[in-house]
Symmetry: C3
Subunit: 141 residues, 3 copies
């Protein structure tokens, strides 16, 4: 089985957001896979995907604090500044956390650790929404 | 061919550890693939997987030194501190190095560069062990 | 359909380089896929692959500036220094940006965002060239 579809996520505040349920709700075919994989690409260069702790909002807030300190705005070495001071740091953060996730599927469900959830990492101050390309493939049940 | 199985790795000290042989020993079916891929997920949010230099223990020690400087404990911006001062930095390091690896297989072997080995990156002070979900798929020999 | 082949890229200056066209020119079979994926591995431990902004050379220059500040040469904690002061930082940068990319294919083309391009991130001062292992799989048109 192969499926590929676009998932449109609404605009969100800058920060790290848990989107596991939203992504899975858009992929009913996942239930048909016995063994397989789900690949997600975020089709943008200033937002990213990560897989991390799905319980505490503090964890996601601390991710944002760390990222802002590690990739600072207004640093003297930025030359690509025309699109706003949040733009170039957003590109670097996007590449660090990465634009894709590949996740195992078993018995019609994601086969993740108990505490793992999918993060949409929004690195711009104002984004109107983000598109994911989801690809599912594997053996049907 | 599709195979998915859990690999249980014993607890290790905080640091970067070469686990290529251990992972391959748990996957005898890899020898049956002519062309394919191996996907590994670490089912945890405070440890990660990386692919890097497989020869010098100094390299792995320097990874740990860099990570501790780049994601410091006791930084003022951490708010999720209930689980220990190593916990929140471990989450960030885990997302930076990443929870998955996808590796090409050819003629029954991983098709990597000469110097590439699989790292288990343990970011907690005390972990009792780590679970990998390994998925293999491709054309049989 | 499964295809796996080596792509040899010529030596490049240290920095972030857009190589989308070069990679696609080496993969004519991609046009035969209806739905599928392209996996790229860089078979080295001191260079990496990323997916980011494909328009402005300033963006790629700023990536290099950020990386040099975040993973500094001559830091006191490096112990693996025999291969040059650029070597150990190159290993860390390589693991941060990552050694692989997995990209969706649709209707015979990469299904990426408008602004996304493939970067070869060269982290050494003098590299004679880099090898990618490209794996393509999916449903034929």
């Amino acid at each position: 089985m192969w499926r590929q579809r676009e998932i449109r996520l609404p605009g969100r505040d800058r920060g790290f957001h848990l989107v596991t349920t939203e992504v899975l709700d858009a992929l009913p075919e996942l239930a048909e896979l016995q063994v397989g994989l789900l690949h997600l690409l975020i089709a943008h260069t200033s937002a990213s995907l990560a897989l991390n702790e799905n319980a505490s909002p503090e964890v996601r807030r601390d991710f944002e604090s760390w990222a802002n300190q590690a990739v600072p705005e207004r640093a003297g070495y930025w030359t690509h500044t025309l699109e706003g001071q949040d733009d170039m740091p957003a590109h670097v953060k996007a590449a660090l956390f990465g634009p894709t996730l590949t996740l195992p599927v078993k018995d019609g469900r994601l086969n993740l650790g108990t505490w793992q959830g999918i993060y949409l990492c929004e690195h711009r101050d104002h984004a109107s929404g983000r598109t994911l390309i989801a690809t599912l493939w594997g053996e049907e049940r």
